[in-house]
Symmetry: C2
Subunit: 427 residues, 2 copies
């Protein structure tokens, strides 16, 4: 029965049940950190063989015989083998690609910083010379995206996430009106944290929309582009789509192997149109003599190509899928039909987003903390760390074992019921 | 006999001799690139064993048992093992250190960019909000330093290099007068390209000088801090020295293993005072979840400590020393006493700087090119790529074999004589 339809007595009974269950869990002295979406050790071990795939000195050479153990100035923007690999795995043109260091976040930060310092193709002046630069932040979203633009002085505008991606009616209206809006953060596949994959229509509207700013950019962070958990889903060819409308310069594309091989020791890349690349390269060549080509080669030799990545990601999925199933099944069983929570049904990625009753997320978070379970900070999924409805919780099921996870989600469901019963009783 | 004291007939004879020798070399159809200071393959091979020093999964753990194959947010500014290693090898306090990615140049670029976007400790506002930011560029110096500040919109001021480092009388006068001067580029040991190591007095004057700008910074690129070729020389403790005068915040210190292990796949670090570090960390934590900790561990496991680095660098020196000897002995034999060239006597580093007769560097460069030998671009060692005297040539002896090098320097000496004879005959 929905909590909203319960009378006081029923709510009190529900509250008492929840409290009793909660106290029992609390007495167990649990200790579990679910704050971050990091792969489990079993997943990390999947890539261990990569570390031994470079046997001889000849393995350290590019296809054309160039020794990659030293500076190779002409490939400061990435080894061609790595460009070909990412092009194959992500369906992006190889000659659109810059292969970077170990962090796509760093490439995104640098891309916003570069826009601030130099502008982008189409800018009248460096963005730091403008009075205000605004960024659209579909929320709930990825806290580190929002913080990059906040740190660099941008004003953040919250956009609702729908089941098909950002609320495009609002996006289209805002970007058409306000030339200070220069960018939008997007995670097009298995979005962090909702798990939503942008619909074809959303992609098309993003690619075609009219913007008041001539130098508007879509930061297309395809972090989970090959991170399918159930059926394999292809990637939107956002370059081809935006090219149809003459808007190809609009796209800054990013991804990395952080959640394919080793988080923090993988390889990141970005992709952009020829005009953008020309400008970006002219700056990057001042910034570095080149990124770590040995680590690029190591990844290419181990993962080989798109099919190699798919095979590898199936092994990840075999470990992750039972954890997602565990969370989703428990939510359905414990919270289904109560009207006090809703959640996404992600087919890949790293997160499950849970919306509890408005005004209850902080309460649930604190109850969980007191029971020894750390969740992602409430509000983290919104600009400035403030969830306007105080309702969103990001569940990161990857790190714990299925047993630990089952326990944590059992406790979570009890906390959600407890907080909701309190709320309805007070109302 | 000095060319300046020769009569026309003697000069004509010298020119003819040089021309004859030059044409003979040209007929050999040489092909040699000496433009960049890169280690030879023999030097690169010295570090190959490093790639096999991580055997078991346990090797991928920090001293406290933390698995470095995944994100470890709390050490976003570097693995403690790597901090301890660099502290030992470079005599810098471990808690002043941020360990970065593969490129110290990238850390320097980011440090200037960060100053532009946020300012530094003591700034009234971000540097990009100032009308003009000026940087002092001791020259001849490292072209990539100058280009970083040029790219980021700074005005570059040429400072003469002396045998003891930058001309400190001029430096002191300028920084005391002009608050727009916010920084100076320094390579304190075996400077690129002069090979000069700053004298104790130069270091003390840099540490103690009064600056009109409250946020003046010394970019202390100790690229060759452990790159001794003859006797081992200790590093100036620039932090202790500047601390004596209350100027510790003035120092941004940089170095990397690029010319210790693998250029482009090494590990870079920077060091700064606690106040600076606090500000830098607050930005870096927005920029990345962390740099490649596996590569950090790999370096620490292989090089171990200061003594390990010294032993490794002695092996480099054994390969490099004969090349430096070859160049210096040939210069002395062929150009000594002619008054048409002067050169440094580096005790380490990667370069030998050759000053030919004023107005002759470009001519020598072109003669060399026509004979098939590529030198570093003339002017590259000066701000904006313009050598005001057209006299400096940077010799990079590391990459060719001794035999190739001997030939190249023989040709070079002939070209220097040829250009000088032409000049004096025209005068």
């Amino acid at each position: 029965m929905e909590y909203a339809k319960m009378d006081k007595a029923a709510l009190s009974a529900a509250l008492n049940d929840a409290k009793k269950a909660y106290e029992a869990y609390k007495a167990e002295g649990l200790k579990l950190n679910m704050a971050r979406g990091i792969p489990s050790t079993a997943q990390i071990n999947l890539s261990q063989d990569m570390m031994d795939c470079m046997k001889d000195i000849s393995d350290y050479k590019g296809n054309d015989g160039t020794d990659y153990r030293t500076y190779v100035g002409k490939i400061f923007d990435g080894a061609p083998e790595a460009k070909a690999f990412f092009a194959d795995a992500y369906c992006v043109p190889a000659d659109y690609i810059i292969v970077g260091g170990n962090s796509s976040l760093n490439m995104m930060y640098d891309t916003v910083a570069r826009a601030m310092l130099y502008g982008v193709v189409g800018s009248e002046r460096p963005w730091c010379k403008e009075e205000v630069i605004k960024f659209l932040c579909p929320s709930p979203g990825y806290d580190r995206h929002f913080k990059v633009t906040q740190s660099l002085g941008c004003e953040l505008i919250t956009i609702d996430m729908t089941d098909e991606g950002p609320d495009m009616d609002t996006v289209e209206k805002l970007v058409a009106e306000d030339p200070a809006i220069r960018g939008i953060w997007c995670v097009p596949k298995y979005s962090n944290p909702t798990g939503v994959t942008f619909s074809d229509e959303t992609c098309r509207r993003l690619a075609s929309m009219k913007t008041a700013a001539p130098d508007f950019r879509i930061f297309w962070d395809n972090a989970y582009g090959v991170h399918d958990l159930y059926e394999e889903q292809s990637n939107c060819d956002i370059f081809a789509l935006s090219r149809e409308y003459g808007n190809e310069d609009r796209i800054f594309y990013f991804a990395s192997t952080s959640k394919i091989t080793f988080p923090g020791a993988g390889v990141a890349f970005m992709a952009a149109s020829p005009a953008n690349l020309k400008q970006i390269r002219s700056v990057i060549t001042m910034q570095t003599i080149g990124y770590d080509k040995i680590n690029m080669l190591r990844h290419v030799k181990y993962l080989k190509d798109a099919e190699g990545v798919r095979a590898h990601m199936r092994r990840h999925a075999d470990i992750l899928r039972p954890k997602f199933d565990c969370v989703l099944n428990t939510f359905e069983r414990e919270l289904g039909g109560l009207g006090i929570a809703s959640w996404g049904n992600p087919r890949g990625g790293y997160f499950i987003s849970l919306d509890v009753a408005d005004g209850c997320a902080k309460r649930v978070f604190n109850l969980m903390s007191e029971a020894g379970i750390t969740l992602t900070d409430v509000g983290a999924t919104y600009p400035y760390g403030k969830d306007p409805h105080d309702r969103n919780l990001r569940i990161a099921p990857s790190y714990p074992t299925v047993e630990e996870l089952q326990k944590a989600i059992d406790v979570l469901c009890v906390c959600v019921k407890l907080a909701a019963a309190e709320k309805y009783l007070e109302a």
